[in-house]
Protein backbone atom coordinates (compact mmCIF):
# COMPACT_ATOMS: atom_id res chain seq x y z
CA UNK A 1 0.00 0.00 0.00
CA UNK A 2 1.42 3.36 -0.96
CA UNK A 3 2.34 5.64 1.94
CA UNK A 4 2.44 9.41 1.76
CA UNK A 5 6.21 9.26 2.32
CA UNK A 6 6.47 7.25 -0.89
CA UNK A 7 5.83 10.41 -2.86
CA UNK A 8 9.17 12.06 -3.53
CA UNK A 9 9.25 15.75 -4.42
CA UNK A 10 12.48 17.07 -5.91
CA UNK A 11 12.47 20.83 -5.65
CA UNK A 12 14.44 24.03 -5.23
CA UNK A 13 11.40 25.88 -3.89
CA UNK A 14 11.55 26.27 -0.12
CA UNK A 15 7.80 26.95 0.00
CA UNK A 16 7.17 23.46 -1.32
CA UNK A 17 9.65 22.13 1.24
CA UNK A 18 7.90 23.95 4.07
CA UNK A 19 4.43 22.85 3.07
CA UNK A 20 5.10 19.19 2.36
CA UNK A 21 8.18 18.11 4.34
CA UNK A 22 6.12 16.59 7.14
CA UNK A 23 3.89 14.66 4.72
CA UNK A 24 5.96 13.55 1.74
CA UNK A 25 9.65 12.93 1.14
CA UNK A 26 11.43 16.03 -0.09
CA UNK A 27 14.79 16.17 -1.84
CA UNK A 28 15.64 19.85 -1.62
CA UNK A 29 18.28 21.30 -3.93
CA UNK A 30 19.26 24.89 -3.32
CA UNK A 31 20.29 25.08 -6.97
CA UNK A 32 19.10 26.19 -10.39
CA UNK A 33 16.08 25.03 -12.36
CA UNK A 34 18.29 23.05 -14.70
CA UNK A 35 20.13 21.40 -11.83
CA UNK A 36 16.78 20.28 -10.41
CA UNK A 37 15.90 18.69 -13.75
CA UNK A 38 19.26 16.91 -13.78
CA UNK A 39 18.63 15.66 -10.23
CA UNK A 40 15.26 14.33 -11.43
CA UNK A 41 16.96 12.55 -14.31
CA UNK A 42 19.46 10.99 -11.91
CA UNK A 43 16.58 9.68 -9.82
CA UNK A 44 14.86 8.24 -12.89
CA UNK A 45 18.06 6.33 -13.64
CA UNK A 46 17.78 4.96 -10.12
CA UNK A 47 14.34 3.52 -11.00
CA UNK A 48 12.12 6.36 -9.89
CA UNK A 49 9.31 7.33 -12.22
CA UNK A 50 7.62 10.66 -12.82
CA UNK A 51 4.20 11.36 -11.40
CA UNK A 52 4.06 14.95 -12.66
CA UNK A 53 5.23 16.49 -15.89
CA UNK A 54 8.63 18.17 -15.55
CA UNK A 55 7.55 21.08 -17.75
CA UNK A 56 4.48 22.10 -15.78
CA UNK A 57 3.48 25.71 -16.27
CA UNK A 58 3.83 28.18 -19.09
CA UNK A 59 6.73 29.90 -17.39
CA UNK A 60 9.78 29.19 -19.48
CA UNK A 61 13.04 27.91 -17.97
CA UNK A 62 14.66 31.28 -18.62
CA UNK A 63 11.93 33.04 -16.71
CA UNK A 64 11.20 31.13 -13.54
CA UNK A 65 13.98 29.96 -11.20
CA UNK A 66 11.80 27.31 -9.56
CA UNK A 67 10.93 23.76 -10.40
CA UNK A 68 9.27 20.98 -8.42
CA UNK A 69 8.71 17.49 -9.72
CA UNK A 70 6.96 14.55 -8.02
CA UNK A 71 8.26 10.98 -8.42
CA UNK A 72 7.91 7.58 -6.85
CA UNK A 73 10.15 4.56 -6.70
CA UNK A 74 9.51 1.56 -8.92
CA UNK A 75 11.34 -1.64 -9.73
CA UNK A 76 12.55 -0.85 -13.22
CA UNK A 77 13.75 2.15 -15.20
CA UNK A 78 10.72 3.88 -16.70
CA UNK A 79 11.55 4.89 -20.26
CA UNK A 80 8.58 7.20 -20.59
CA UNK A 81 9.91 9.19 -17.63
CA UNK A 82 13.38 9.23 -19.18
CA UNK A 83 12.02 10.60 -22.42
CA UNK A 84 10.02 13.28 -20.67
CA UNK A 85 12.94 14.46 -18.54
CA UNK A 86 15.39 14.44 -21.47
CA UNK A 87 12.91 16.54 -23.46
CA UNK A 88 12.56 18.91 -20.53
CA UNK A 89 16.34 19.31 -20.17
CA UNK A 90 16.76 19.86 -23.88
CA UNK A 91 14.00 22.44 -23.89
CA UNK A 92 15.50 24.21 -20.86
CA UNK A 93 18.88 24.38 -22.55
CA UNK A 94 17.29 25.75 -25.69
CA UNK A 95 15.62 28.61 -23.85
CA UNK A 96 18.58 29.37 -21.60
CA UNK A 97 20.87 29.51 -24.63
CA UNK A 98 18.90 32.41 -26.08
CA UNK A 99 18.32 34.32 -22.91
CA UNK A 100 19.43 33.80 -19.35
CA UNK A 101 17.37 34.15 -16.22
CA UNK A 102 16.77 37.80 -15.21
CA UNK A 103 17.82 39.04 -11.79
CA UNK A 104 14.42 39.03 -10.13
CA UNK A 105 13.28 41.20 -7.26
CA UNK A 106 12.23 39.66 -3.93
CA UNK A 107 8.56 40.09 -4.81
CA UNK A 108 8.94 38.34 -8.12
CA UNK A 109 10.89 35.49 -6.53
CA UNK A 110 8.04 35.02 -4.09
CA UNK A 111 5.50 35.04 -6.92
CA UNK A 112 7.39 32.41 -8.88
CA UNK A 113 7.52 30.23 -5.79
CA UNK A 114 3.75 30.70 -5.40
CA UNK A 115 3.09 29.53 -8.93
CA UNK A 116 5.41 26.55 -8.67
CA UNK A 117 3.76 25.60 -5.39
CA UNK A 118 0.33 25.85 -7.01
CA UNK A 119 1.33 23.33 -9.70
CA UNK A 120 2.29 20.88 -6.96
CA UNK A 121 -0.85 21.62 -4.92
CA UNK A 122 -3.07 21.24 -7.95
CA UNK A 123 -1.48 17.93 -8.76
CA UNK A 124 -1.58 16.49 -5.25
CA UNK A 125 -4.96 17.83 -4.13
CA UNK A 126 -7.62 15.17 -3.87
CA UNK A 127 -5.21 12.51 -5.00
CA UNK A 128 -5.61 9.50 -2.84
CA UNK A 129 -2.60 7.32 -2.27
CA UNK A 130 -4.49 4.42 -3.77
CA UNK A 131 -2.03 2.42 -5.86
CA UNK A 132 -4.23 2.96 -8.93
CA UNK A 133 -3.07 6.55 -9.07
CA UNK A 134 0.47 5.45 -9.80
CA UNK A 135 -0.23 3.20 -12.70
CA UNK A 136 0.71 4.92 -15.96
Amino acid sequence: MLESRDLLIITNNNRVLEKYQSIHTIEFHDETYLEVLVAVRNKIHQNYKLLTHPMAGSLKPNQTPFKSVILMETELTDYNSLMLIENAIESANKFLKFKSLPKWSENCIYDFKTLDLSFVEGAITNKSLNPCYQVI
Binding site: G57, S58, L59, W104, C108, A123, N126, K127, Q134
Partner: protein, 428 residues
Protein backbone atom coordinates in the same frame (compact mmCIF):
# COMPACT_ATOMS: atom_id res chain seq x y z
CA UNK B 1 -28.78 23.67 -30.14
CA UNK B 2 -29.47 26.69 -32.28
CA UNK B 3 -28.07 30.10 -31.51
CA UNK B 4 -28.64 33.37 -33.31
CA UNK B 5 -25.61 35.56 -32.77
CA UNK B 6 -26.51 39.20 -33.35
CA UNK B 7 -23.39 41.21 -34.13
CA UNK B 8 -23.59 44.87 -33.23
CA UNK B 9 -20.67 46.62 -34.90
CA UNK B 10 -18.86 49.05 -32.64
CA UNK B 11 -16.69 51.65 -34.36
CA UNK B 12 -15.89 53.97 -31.48
CA UNK B 13 -15.86 54.11 -27.71
CA UNK B 14 -16.40 57.19 -25.54
CA UNK B 15 -17.08 58.04 -21.95
CA UNK B 16 -20.68 59.13 -21.32
CA UNK B 17 -23.27 59.73 -18.64
CA UNK B 18 -25.01 56.49 -19.56
CA UNK B 19 -23.62 53.16 -20.75
CA UNK B 20 -25.26 52.62 -24.11
CA UNK B 21 -24.73 51.95 -27.80
CA UNK B 22 -25.76 54.59 -30.27
CA UNK B 23 -24.99 54.58 -33.99
CA UNK B 24 -22.08 52.24 -33.57
CA UNK B 25 -20.50 54.14 -30.69
CA UNK B 26 -20.25 52.50 -27.30
CA UNK B 27 -20.60 54.99 -24.45
CA UNK B 28 -19.49 53.88 -21.01
CA UNK B 29 -20.08 55.44 -17.62
CA UNK B 30 -16.63 55.51 -16.09
CA UNK B 31 -17.79 55.93 -12.51
CA UNK B 32 -20.26 53.05 -12.62
CA UNK B 33 -17.54 50.73 -13.85
CA UNK B 34 -15.09 51.82 -11.19
CA UNK B 35 -17.69 51.44 -8.44
CA UNK B 36 -18.76 48.05 -9.69
CA UNK B 37 -15.21 46.72 -9.71
CA UNK B 38 -14.45 48.15 -6.25
CA UNK B 39 -17.46 46.38 -4.74
CA UNK B 40 -14.97 43.57 -4.40
CA UNK B 41 -13.04 44.67 -1.36
CA UNK B 42 -9.99 42.74 -2.45
CA UNK B 43 -9.33 45.51 -4.98
CA UNK B 44 -8.35 49.04 -4.06
CA UNK B 45 -7.99 50.59 -7.47
CA UNK B 46 -9.94 50.40 -10.72
CA UNK B 47 -8.99 53.06 -13.24
CA UNK B 48 -10.91 53.03 -16.49
CA UNK B 49 -9.29 54.25 -19.68
CA UNK B 50 -10.08 53.94 -23.37
CA UNK B 51 -7.87 52.79 -26.24
CA UNK B 52 -8.94 53.04 -29.86
CA UNK B 53 -7.42 51.63 -33.07
CA UNK B 54 -4.66 53.76 -34.48
CA UNK B 55 -3.94 55.62 -31.25
CA UNK B 56 -0.40 55.85 -29.98
CA UNK B 57 -1.23 53.74 -26.94
CA UNK B 58 0.49 50.77 -25.34
CA UNK B 59 -1.49 48.63 -22.88
CA UNK B 60 0.51 46.56 -20.39
CA UNK B 61 0.47 44.22 -18.53
CA UNK B 62 -2.70 42.59 -19.86
CA UNK B 63 -4.62 40.03 -17.88
CA UNK B 64 -7.73 39.16 -19.91
CA UNK B 65 -9.68 40.47 -22.90
CA UNK B 66 -13.44 39.99 -22.97
CA UNK B 67 -16.00 40.85 -25.66
CA UNK B 68 -19.20 42.30 -24.17
CA UNK B 69 -22.22 40.07 -24.88
CA UNK B 70 -25.76 39.66 -23.59
CA UNK B 71 -28.27 36.83 -23.87
CA UNK B 72 -31.43 38.29 -25.33
CA UNK B 73 -33.42 35.05 -25.33
CA UNK B 74 -32.92 31.42 -24.49
CA UNK B 75 -32.02 29.73 -21.24
CA UNK B 76 -29.42 31.22 -18.96
CA UNK B 77 -27.22 34.30 -19.18
CA UNK B 78 -23.70 35.14 -20.19
CA UNK B 79 -20.84 33.54 -18.19
CA UNK B 80 -23.04 30.98 -16.43
CA UNK B 81 -21.68 29.62 -13.19
CA UNK B 82 -19.22 32.51 -12.90
CA UNK B 83 -21.01 35.85 -13.15
CA UNK B 84 -24.55 34.61 -13.68
CA UNK B 85 -26.37 31.64 -12.25
CA UNK B 86 -25.36 28.30 -13.62
CA UNK B 87 -27.63 27.16 -16.48
CA UNK B 88 -26.85 25.47 -19.78
CA UNK B 89 -26.49 28.12 -22.49
CA UNK B 90 -25.97 28.10 -26.24
CA UNK B 91 -29.54 28.47 -27.51
CA UNK B 92 -31.80 31.35 -28.37
CA UNK B 93 -30.36 34.73 -29.23
CA UNK B 94 -27.26 36.53 -28.04
CA UNK B 95 -26.00 39.96 -28.95
CA UNK B 96 -22.30 40.75 -29.17
CA UNK B 97 -20.64 44.18 -29.28
CA UNK B 98 -18.21 43.30 -32.03
CA UNK B 99 -15.30 45.70 -32.21
CA UNK B 100 -15.38 46.49 -28.50
CA UNK B 101 -13.51 44.75 -25.71
CA UNK B 102 -12.92 44.99 -22.00
CA UNK B 103 -9.23 44.62 -21.14
CA UNK B 104 -8.09 44.08 -17.58
CA UNK B 105 -4.57 45.11 -16.74
CA UNK B 106 -2.40 45.53 -13.72
CA UNK B 107 0.00 43.30 -11.95
CA UNK B 108 -1.22 40.07 -10.43
CA UNK B 109 2.31 38.88 -9.89
CA UNK B 110 5.56 40.75 -10.20
CA UNK B 111 6.23 39.43 -13.66
CA UNK B 112 2.72 39.86 -15.01
CA UNK B 113 2.92 40.08 -18.71
CA UNK B 114 1.61 40.81 -22.14
CA UNK B 115 1.29 43.98 -24.11
CA UNK B 116 -0.92 45.42 -26.82
CA UNK B 117 0.14 48.25 -29.14
CA UNK B 118 -2.79 50.10 -30.69
CA UNK B 119 -0.67 51.36 -33.59
CA UNK B 120 2.76 50.99 -35.11
CA UNK B 121 4.55 48.03 -36.68
CA UNK B 122 3.66 45.51 -33.96
CA UNK B 123 -0.06 46.29 -33.79
CA UNK B 124 -0.64 43.75 -36.53
CA UNK B 125 0.28 40.86 -34.28
CA UNK B 126 -2.71 41.25 -32.00
CA UNK B 127 -6.40 41.50 -32.93
CA UNK B 128 -6.98 43.97 -30.11
CA UNK B 129 -5.21 46.81 -31.90
CA UNK B 130 -8.30 46.90 -34.10
CA UNK B 131 -10.91 47.00 -31.37
CA UNK B 132 -12.26 49.80 -29.20
CA UNK B 133 -11.08 48.90 -25.76
CA UNK B 134 -12.35 49.74 -22.31
CA UNK B 135 -9.27 49.18 -20.17
CA UNK B 136 -9.66 48.57 -16.47
CA UNK B 137 -6.40 48.93 -14.56
CA UNK B 138 -6.72 47.17 -11.23
CA UNK B 139 -4.69 46.95 -8.08
CA UNK B 140 -5.14 44.57 -5.15
CA UNK B 141 -5.16 45.57 -1.51
CA UNK B 142 -1.90 45.47 0.42
CA UNK B 143 -0.74 41.96 1.24
CA UNK B 144 -3.50 40.24 -0.71
CA UNK B 145 -2.84 36.58 -1.38
CA UNK B 146 -2.12 35.87 -5.04
CA UNK B 147 -4.97 33.39 -5.56
CA UNK B 148 -7.43 35.92 -4.15
CA UNK B 149 -6.11 38.73 -6.31
CA UNK B 150 -6.23 36.57 -9.44
CA UNK B 151 -9.84 35.65 -8.77
CA UNK B 152 -10.79 39.25 -8.04
CA UNK B 153 -9.14 40.41 -11.25
CA UNK B 154 -10.75 37.67 -13.31
CA UNK B 155 -14.22 38.39 -11.96
CA UNK B 156 -13.75 42.15 -12.39
CA UNK B 157 -13.21 41.82 -16.12
CA UNK B 158 -16.13 39.44 -16.60
CA UNK B 159 -18.42 41.65 -14.50
CA UNK B 160 -17.57 44.76 -16.51
CA UNK B 161 -18.03 42.90 -19.80
CA UNK B 162 -21.42 41.63 -18.63
CA UNK B 163 -22.45 45.14 -17.57
CA UNK B 164 -21.35 46.68 -20.88
CA UNK B 165 -22.91 43.80 -22.82
CA UNK B 166 -26.32 44.84 -21.47
CA UNK B 167 -26.04 47.97 -23.61
CA UNK B 168 -26.55 45.73 -26.63
CA UNK B 169 -29.76 44.09 -25.47
CA UNK B 170 -32.25 46.25 -27.36
CA UNK B 171 -30.03 47.31 -30.24
CA UNK B 172 -30.83 45.95 -33.67
CA UNK B 173 -27.75 43.96 -34.76
CA UNK B 174 -25.97 44.79 -38.01
CA UNK B 175 -25.71 41.12 -38.79
CA UNK B 176 -27.26 37.95 -37.41
CA UNK B 177 -25.47 34.66 -37.89
CA UNK B 178 -27.30 31.43 -37.10
CA UNK B 179 -25.33 28.50 -35.73
CA UNK B 180 -26.94 25.13 -35.25
CA UNK B 181 -25.77 21.73 -34.13
CA UNK B 182 -28.30 18.98 -33.69
CA UNK B 183 -28.10 16.12 -31.19
CA UNK B 184 -25.52 13.54 -32.30
CA UNK B 185 -27.61 10.98 -34.16
CA UNK B 186 -29.72 13.62 -35.89
CA UNK B 187 -26.58 15.52 -36.83
CA UNK B 188 -24.90 12.44 -38.25
CA UNK B 189 -27.99 11.63 -40.31
CA UNK B 190 -28.38 15.18 -41.58
CA UNK B 191 -25.36 14.94 -43.91
CA UNK B 192 -24.64 11.24 -44.26
CA UNK B 193 -22.31 11.73 -47.21
CA UNK B 194 -20.05 14.25 -45.46
CA UNK B 195 -17.15 13.37 -43.12
CA UNK B 196 -18.05 13.68 -39.46
CA UNK B 197 -15.55 16.09 -37.93
CA UNK B 198 -15.12 17.09 -34.32
CA UNK B 199 -13.05 19.67 -32.48
CA UNK B 200 -10.95 18.62 -29.51
CA UNK B 201 -10.50 21.77 -27.45
CA UNK B 202 -7.78 21.46 -24.83
CA UNK B 203 -8.18 23.77 -21.84
CA UNK B 204 -5.25 25.07 -19.81
CA UNK B 205 -5.45 23.61 -16.29
CA UNK B 206 -2.10 23.55 -14.55
CA UNK B 207 -2.62 25.82 -11.54
CA UNK B 208 -2.57 29.45 -10.51
CA UNK B 209 -2.70 31.80 -13.52
CA UNK B 210 -2.98 28.70 -15.70
CA UNK B 211 -6.62 27.79 -15.24
CA UNK B 212 -9.79 27.68 -17.34
CA UNK B 213 -13.38 27.33 -16.17
CA UNK B 214 -16.31 25.51 -17.79
CA UNK B 215 -19.60 26.67 -16.26
CA UNK B 216 -17.49 27.76 -13.32
CA UNK B 217 -15.81 24.37 -12.90
CA UNK B 218 -12.04 24.38 -12.79
CA UNK B 219 -10.88 22.39 -15.83
CA UNK B 220 -8.30 20.76 -13.59
CA UNK B 221 -11.01 18.65 -11.93
CA UNK B 222 -12.96 17.88 -15.09
CA UNK B 223 -12.95 14.73 -17.12
CA UNK B 224 -13.31 15.13 -20.89
CA UNK B 225 -16.83 15.94 -21.98
CA UNK B 226 -18.88 16.88 -25.01
CA UNK B 227 -20.09 20.43 -25.59
CA UNK B 228 -22.34 21.96 -28.22
CA UNK B 229 -20.21 24.51 -30.09
CA UNK B 230 -22.68 27.32 -29.39
CA UNK B 231 -22.25 27.05 -25.62
CA UNK B 232 -18.83 28.67 -25.93
CA UNK B 233 -20.43 31.68 -27.62
CA UNK B 234 -22.42 32.41 -24.48
CA UNK B 235 -19.35 32.37 -22.23
CA UNK B 236 -19.55 28.77 -20.96
CA UNK B 237 -15.74 28.84 -20.93
CA UNK B 238 -13.77 31.66 -19.33
CA UNK B 239 -10.06 32.17 -19.01
CA UNK B 240 -8.12 32.20 -15.77
CA UNK B 241 -4.88 32.02 -17.67
CA UNK B 242 -2.60 35.00 -17.79
CA UNK B 243 0.89 33.71 -18.36
CA UNK B 244 2.71 33.48 -21.68
CA UNK B 245 0.99 36.30 -23.54
CA UNK B 246 1.47 35.09 -27.08
CA UNK B 247 -0.49 31.87 -26.78
CA UNK B 248 -2.78 32.63 -23.90
CA UNK B 249 -6.39 32.04 -24.85
CA UNK B 250 -8.27 35.07 -23.59
CA UNK B 251 -11.99 34.93 -22.82
CA UNK B 252 -12.46 36.82 -26.12
CA UNK B 253 -10.79 33.92 -27.91
CA UNK B 254 -13.08 31.43 -26.21
CA UNK B 255 -16.16 33.45 -27.21
CA UNK B 256 -14.81 33.79 -30.74
CA UNK B 257 -13.10 30.45 -31.12
CA UNK B 258 -11.89 30.45 -34.75
CA UNK B 259 -11.94 26.67 -35.19
CA UNK B 260 -15.63 26.63 -34.25
CA UNK B 261 -16.45 29.58 -36.50
CA UNK B 262 -14.57 28.07 -39.44
CA UNK B 263 -16.05 24.62 -38.92
CA UNK B 264 -19.54 26.11 -39.00
CA UNK B 265 -18.66 27.95 -42.22
CA UNK B 266 -17.98 24.57 -43.83
CA UNK B 267 -20.76 22.72 -42.03
CA UNK B 268 -23.08 20.98 -44.44
CA UNK B 269 -20.78 21.80 -47.34
CA UNK B 270 -17.52 19.96 -46.96
CA UNK B 271 -17.92 18.53 -43.48
CA UNK B 272 -20.46 17.58 -40.85
CA UNK B 273 -19.44 19.46 -37.69
CA UNK B 274 -20.51 17.08 -34.96
CA UNK B 275 -19.48 18.96 -31.84
CA UNK B 276 -16.72 19.80 -29.42
CA UNK B 277 -14.84 17.58 -26.99
CA UNK B 278 -13.38 19.48 -24.07
CA UNK B 279 -10.34 18.15 -22.27
CA UNK B 280 -7.64 19.51 -19.99
CA UNK B 281 -3.87 19.80 -19.56
CA UNK B 282 -3.07 18.64 -16.05
CA UNK B 283 0.31 18.34 -14.42
CA UNK B 284 -0.31 14.91 -12.84
CA UNK B 285 0.71 12.35 -15.43
CA UNK B 286 -2.06 9.92 -14.59
CA UNK B 287 -4.59 12.69 -15.25
CA UNK B 288 -3.04 13.02 -18.71
CA UNK B 289 -3.47 9.32 -19.30
CA UNK B 290 -7.07 9.44 -18.15
CA UNK B 291 -7.92 12.54 -20.16
CA UNK B 292 -6.30 11.38 -23.38
CA UNK B 293 -7.82 7.90 -23.05
CA UNK B 294 -11.26 9.38 -22.52
CA UNK B 295 -10.86 11.94 -25.30
CA UNK B 296 -9.96 9.18 -27.74
CA UNK B 297 -12.88 7.14 -26.48
CA UNK B 298 -15.30 10.03 -27.01
CA UNK B 299 -14.02 10.62 -30.54
CA UNK B 300 -14.71 7.00 -31.37
CA UNK B 301 -18.01 6.94 -29.54
CA UNK B 302 -19.20 10.02 -31.44
CA UNK B 303 -18.47 8.21 -34.69
CA UNK B 304 -16.02 10.87 -35.85
CA UNK B 305 -14.03 10.52 -39.04
CA UNK B 306 -11.60 13.24 -38.09
CA UNK B 307 -10.76 15.88 -35.52
CA UNK B 308 -8.89 19.13 -35.21
CA UNK B 309 -7.04 19.54 -31.93
CA UNK B 310 -5.91 22.82 -30.40
CA UNK B 311 -4.03 23.37 -27.16
CA UNK B 312 -3.10 26.26 -24.92
CA UNK B 313 0.43 26.71 -23.66
CA UNK B 314 3.82 25.17 -24.23
CA UNK B 315 5.77 22.34 -22.69
CA UNK B 316 3.54 20.26 -20.46
CA UNK B 317 0.49 20.84 -22.73
CA UNK B 318 2.50 19.61 -25.72
CA UNK B 319 2.59 16.22 -24.04
CA UNK B 320 -1.20 16.23 -23.75
CA UNK B 321 -1.45 17.33 -27.37
CA UNK B 322 0.69 14.43 -28.51
CA UNK B 323 -1.03 11.88 -26.27
CA UNK B 324 -4.39 12.99 -27.67
CA UNK B 325 -3.02 12.87 -31.20
CA UNK B 326 -1.61 9.39 -30.80
CA UNK B 327 -4.56 7.80 -29.06
CA UNK B 328 -7.18 9.38 -31.31
CA UNK B 329 -5.21 8.28 -34.37
CA UNK B 330 -4.95 4.74 -33.01
CA UNK B 331 -8.73 4.77 -32.53
CA UNK B 332 -9.00 5.16 -36.31
CA UNK B 333 -9.86 8.86 -36.34
CA UNK B 334 -7.84 11.25 -38.50
CA UNK B 335 -6.10 14.07 -36.63
CA UNK B 336 -4.92 17.54 -37.58
CA UNK B 337 -3.14 19.65 -34.99
CA UNK B 338 -3.05 23.42 -34.78
CA UNK B 339 -0.36 24.92 -32.56
CA UNK B 340 2.33 27.58 -32.28
CA UNK B 341 6.06 26.96 -32.17
CA UNK B 342 9.16 27.92 -30.19
CA UNK B 343 12.04 26.82 -32.40
CA UNK B 344 14.37 29.61 -31.28
CA UNK B 345 15.18 32.80 -33.12
CA UNK B 346 16.86 30.93 -35.96
CA UNK B 347 13.90 28.57 -36.27
CA UNK B 348 16.15 25.54 -36.08
CA UNK B 349 15.38 24.03 -32.68
CA UNK B 350 12.58 21.58 -31.99
CA UNK B 351 9.33 23.52 -32.26
CA UNK B 352 7.20 21.77 -29.71
CA UNK B 353 8.30 20.10 -26.51
CA UNK B 354 7.02 16.65 -27.39
CA UNK B 355 6.18 14.65 -30.48
CA UNK B 356 4.76 11.32 -31.64
CA UNK B 357 4.91 9.59 -35.04
CA UNK B 358 1.17 10.14 -35.56
CA UNK B 359 1.65 13.92 -35.49
CA UNK B 360 2.09 14.21 -39.24
CA UNK B 361 -0.48 16.90 -40.02
CA UNK B 362 0.03 20.19 -38.25
CA UNK B 363 -0.89 23.78 -39.00
CA UNK B 364 1.50 26.24 -37.41
CA UNK B 365 0.46 29.53 -35.84
CA UNK B 366 3.94 30.96 -36.05
CA UNK B 367 7.20 31.28 -34.16
CA UNK B 368 7.06 33.08 -30.83
CA UNK B 369 10.82 33.66 -30.67
CA UNK B 370 11.08 36.22 -33.47
CA UNK B 371 12.43 39.61 -32.33
CA UNK B 372 10.57 42.79 -33.13
CA UNK B 373 11.14 46.45 -32.52
CA UNK B 374 8.32 48.29 -30.75
CA UNK B 375 8.51 52.07 -31.19
CA UNK B 376 7.62 54.28 -28.22
CA UNK B 377 3.95 55.17 -27.72
CA UNK B 378 2.61 58.50 -26.50
CA UNK B 379 0.46 56.92 -23.82
CA UNK B 380 0.74 53.86 -21.65
CA UNK B 381 -2.33 52.32 -20.02
CA UNK B 382 -1.09 50.28 -17.09
CA UNK B 383 2.65 50.33 -16.65
CA UNK B 384 5.85 49.43 -18.50
CA UNK B 385 7.58 48.49 -15.26
CA UNK B 386 7.48 44.81 -16.06
CA UNK B 387 8.43 44.85 -19.74
CA UNK B 388 11.95 43.57 -19.27
CA UNK B 389 10.75 40.72 -17.15
CA UNK B 390 7.83 39.74 -19.35
CA UNK B 391 8.21 36.57 -21.40
CA UNK B 392 9.82 37.80 -24.61
CA UNK B 393 11.50 40.75 -22.90
CA UNK B 394 15.03 40.81 -21.50
CA UNK B 395 17.51 43.09 -19.77
CA UNK B 396 17.91 46.11 -21.98
CA UNK B 397 14.60 45.46 -23.76
CA UNK B 398 13.05 48.71 -22.65
CA UNK B 399 14.96 51.65 -24.02
CA UNK B 400 15.12 55.10 -22.50
CA UNK B 401 12.91 56.56 -25.19
CA UNK B 402 10.16 54.06 -24.36
CA UNK B 403 10.79 51.81 -27.33
CA UNK B 404 11.13 48.08 -26.78
CA UNK B 405 13.05 45.30 -28.42
CA UNK B 406 11.58 41.93 -27.59
CA UNK B 407 10.38 38.62 -28.94
CA UNK B 408 6.85 38.69 -30.33
CA UNK B 409 5.81 36.29 -27.62
CA UNK B 410 5.44 39.41 -25.46
CA UNK B 411 2.37 40.45 -27.49
CA UNK B 412 -1.06 39.25 -26.45
CA UNK B 413 -2.29 36.47 -28.72
CA UNK B 414 0.42 36.93 -31.35
CA UNK B 415 0.88 33.21 -31.90
CA UNK B 416 -2.28 31.96 -30.27
CA UNK B 417 -2.50 28.23 -30.75
CA UNK B 418 -6.11 28.09 -31.83
CA UNK B 419 -5.32 29.95 -35.01
CA UNK B 420 -6.96 33.30 -34.31
CA UNK B 421 -4.07 35.23 -35.78
CA UNK B 422 -2.32 35.74 -39.07
CA UNK B 423 1.03 34.05 -38.58
CA UNK B 424 2.01 30.74 -40.12
CA UNK B 425 5.04 28.74 -41.10
CA UNK B 426 6.22 27.28 -44.34
CA UNK B 427 8.30 24.23 -44.93
CA UNK B 428 11.06 24.40 -47.51
Amino acid sequence: MKLELGKIKITDVQFGAETKVENGTLYVNQEEITNMVLEDKRLIKAEVDLARPGESVRIAPVKDVIEPRVKVSGEGKIFPGVINKVKTVGEGRTHALVGANVITCGKIVGFQEGLIDMSGPTAKYTPFSKTNNVCVVIEGKEGIETHEYEEAGRLAGLKVATYIGEAGRNVEPDEVVVYETKPLLEQANMYPELPKIGYVHMLQSQGLLHDTYYYGVDAKVMVPTIMYPTEIMDGAIVSGNCVAPCDKVTTFHHLNNPVITDMYARHGKTLNFMGVILTNENVWLMDKERSSDMTAKLCKQMGLDGVIITEEGYGNPDTDLMMNCQKISKAGVDVVLITDEFPGRDGKSQSVADTVPEANALVSCGNGNIIEHFPPMDKVIGTLDYIETMIGGYEGSLKEDGSIEAEIQIIIASTIANGYNKLAAKGY
